[in-house]
Amino acid sequence: MNMETLYQEIILDHYRNPRGKGLREPFGAQVHHVNPTCGDEITLRVQVDEGVIQDISYDATGCSISQAATSVMYEQLVGQPLDQVWPVVEEFVRLIEGRGKVEPNEDVLGDGIAFAGVASFPARVKCALLGWMAFKDATLQALGKDFT
């Protein structure tokens, strides 16, 4: 497995030009996640309204993979109704944790399939998932609030 499989052009592009970066209002929940192995951190906010992800805003330090994965996530998920969001999150996690044995599903993942190479570099799995896990956590918290 070589480096070029990992660093797809689209990943480098998102890394250099992250979409949606910065913390914004309003938001339903905010979380702070840390990668204990490398110290990378993300603060992420989610705004859910009428069953739709209205905004994902974030401030993060991290490597190209974690930055790009969060940026791609922003593009993919903002504006989507919740019931279409969960399958994407699930498929992304399945791909990244699949140790290179999972066929990426482009229909569901869109640009997310660029991260297929990460699955062959176990040490980078947590990088790719940092933002996505924060999103999942924040969204569940936001919904929890909605329900109460």
Binding site: M3, L12, C38, D40
Partner: protein
């Protein structure tokens, strides 16, 4: 300065013959995390299992005798390696366990009404440093929490030296726990001087020697500390073994951390008494084959010569620092010179995250470590989440340094 015959030494390390990432030559610059093992160590372990394996200190059959002899010989060899008496050396799983054992001696003595020297009272202070590895930091946080003692620390200067503020050592100081050599900065700390200051106020000195014992001649007498911890796997030995050295009079009074078989004197259903050291600190069937492997590692290092190893590493460190300083956008975290400095070289690159830098190096066959290297507060001190660290050992050569530099340049270009 004796130069090492690295080409010949490398033949003793089978792993160095393998290639990585396709057909890249393996350039192993992660000995700070763990070292590679020579045939001498692998053969010693294997011979033990094939010829003498038995539980020690417990049987009177021939294998048990031989196994006990091998195990106690290992203790004597390791003790000799650091200028100590055999019964001052306790085998542990790793340095982390050794440091925890000292920490628990204090909290257990405090809670159980144990010996005065190990008893802490609110107001007592435990003095550590901002450059400690988590192994010599978190256990002291626990002790402080459990005993009511206060945790204080020496800071680190901008150039990666210990900020030895003498005002921090007071009559309240009971323990000074400090690393001999930083696993991130490479800084070698003046233990003898610190020990003198600490002993002047009656404090006990605990030294984390994980990064020094493998790389230079360490004599516990000269060091002047009371406790010294180190790991076998970082000094050519097997995984699964570490050592705690302690001054005999302290060890004699020290309460055990783990209890069970082989560490007892007498056992009744409702109470027990404990054996003298070192047995008191080795509960259960120990890591026998690993001790035997560590014995072989000490002999191997002694045969090569610790001074020669150290000189060689300093030479490579100098080349690495020089080469890295020549690359625009690279900043070294740690002393810029070679005074009191070991062979860990950590650095950051403008615009390239350590994870990405390490990935390109890996793709170039160069194994370095990226992250906070279990010294998170130290990284926070420098306002960085992580660094890339190259660390050298006796089997590294100038080609390895050249490959490190080339790989680093490649990474900077790739992410430019």
């Amino acid at each position: 300065m004796t130069l090492l015959d690295v080409d010949t030494l490398r033949k003793d390390f089978p792993i160095l013959e393998r290639s990585v990432r396709g057909d890249r030559r393996l350039v192993y610059l992660d000995s700070g995390a763990t070292s590679q093992k020579p045939y001498a160590v692998l053969n010693a372990e294997r011979d033990f299992y094939e010829l003498h394996n038995a539980a020690v200190h417990r049987g009177n059959h021939q294998l048990a005798e031989e196994a006990t002899d091998a195990y106690e010989q290992a203790r004597a060899t390791v003790a000799g390696f650091i200028g100590a008496a055999a019964d001052e050396v306790v085998f542990t799983r790793n340095a982390t366990e050794a440091l925890n054992m000292v920490a628990y001696a204090f909290s257990n003595a405090t809670l159980d009404g144990g010996p005065d020297r190990f008893t802490l009272r609110p107001g007592d202070e435990i003095l550590i440093t901002e450059m400690e590895h988590h192994a010599n930091l978190v256990p002291w946080q626990q002790v402080a929490k459990r005993t009511g003692a206060t945790l204080r620390w020496f800071g680190v200067t901008d150039d990666g030296r210990l900020d030895l503020d003498p005002d921090l050592i007071t009559e309240r100081t009971r323990i000074v726990a400090v690393t001999h050599q930083s696993n991130v900065l490479g800084t070698i700390n003046p233990i003898a001087r610190i020990a003198q200051m600490a002993h002047a106020v009656g404090a006990i000195v605990v030294v984390d020697a994980c990064q020094s014992v493998p790389h230079m001649a360490v004599d516990v007498g000269d060091l002047g500390a009371d406790f010294v911890a180190f790991s076998g796997h970082k000094m050519l030995g097997p995984t699964g073994i570490g050592c705690l050295w302690a001054r005999a009079d302290l060890l004699a009074e020290m309460p055990p951390m783990l209890t069970g078989g082989s560490m007892i004197e007498q056992v009744f259903m409702d109470h027990s008494t404990f054996a003298p050291p070192p047995q008191r600190f080795e509960a259960g069937v120990p890591n026998i084959a690993q001790a035997v492997g560590l014995d072989a590692a000490c002999r191997y290092l002694d045969a090569v010569g610790l001074q020669a190893i150290h000189d060689h590493e300093v030479h490579l460190t100098g080349l690495a620092i020089e080469g890295l300083n020549d690359i625009a956008g690279i900043r070294i975290i740690g002393p810029a010179d070679l005074v009191d400095r070991g062979a860990a070289v950590s650095f950051v690159a403008d615009g390239v995250h350590p994870h990405d830098l390490g990935q390109v190096l890996d793709d170039s066959g160069v194994a370095v470590r990226v992250g906070h290297h279990c010294a998170w507060p130290l990284h926070r001190r420098f306002s960085i989440p992580a660094t890339t660290r190259a660390s050298f050992y006796l089997y590294n050569d100038e080609d390895d340094v050249a490959d490190l530099l080339a790989g680093t340049r490649r990474a900077l270009e790739f992410f430019a």
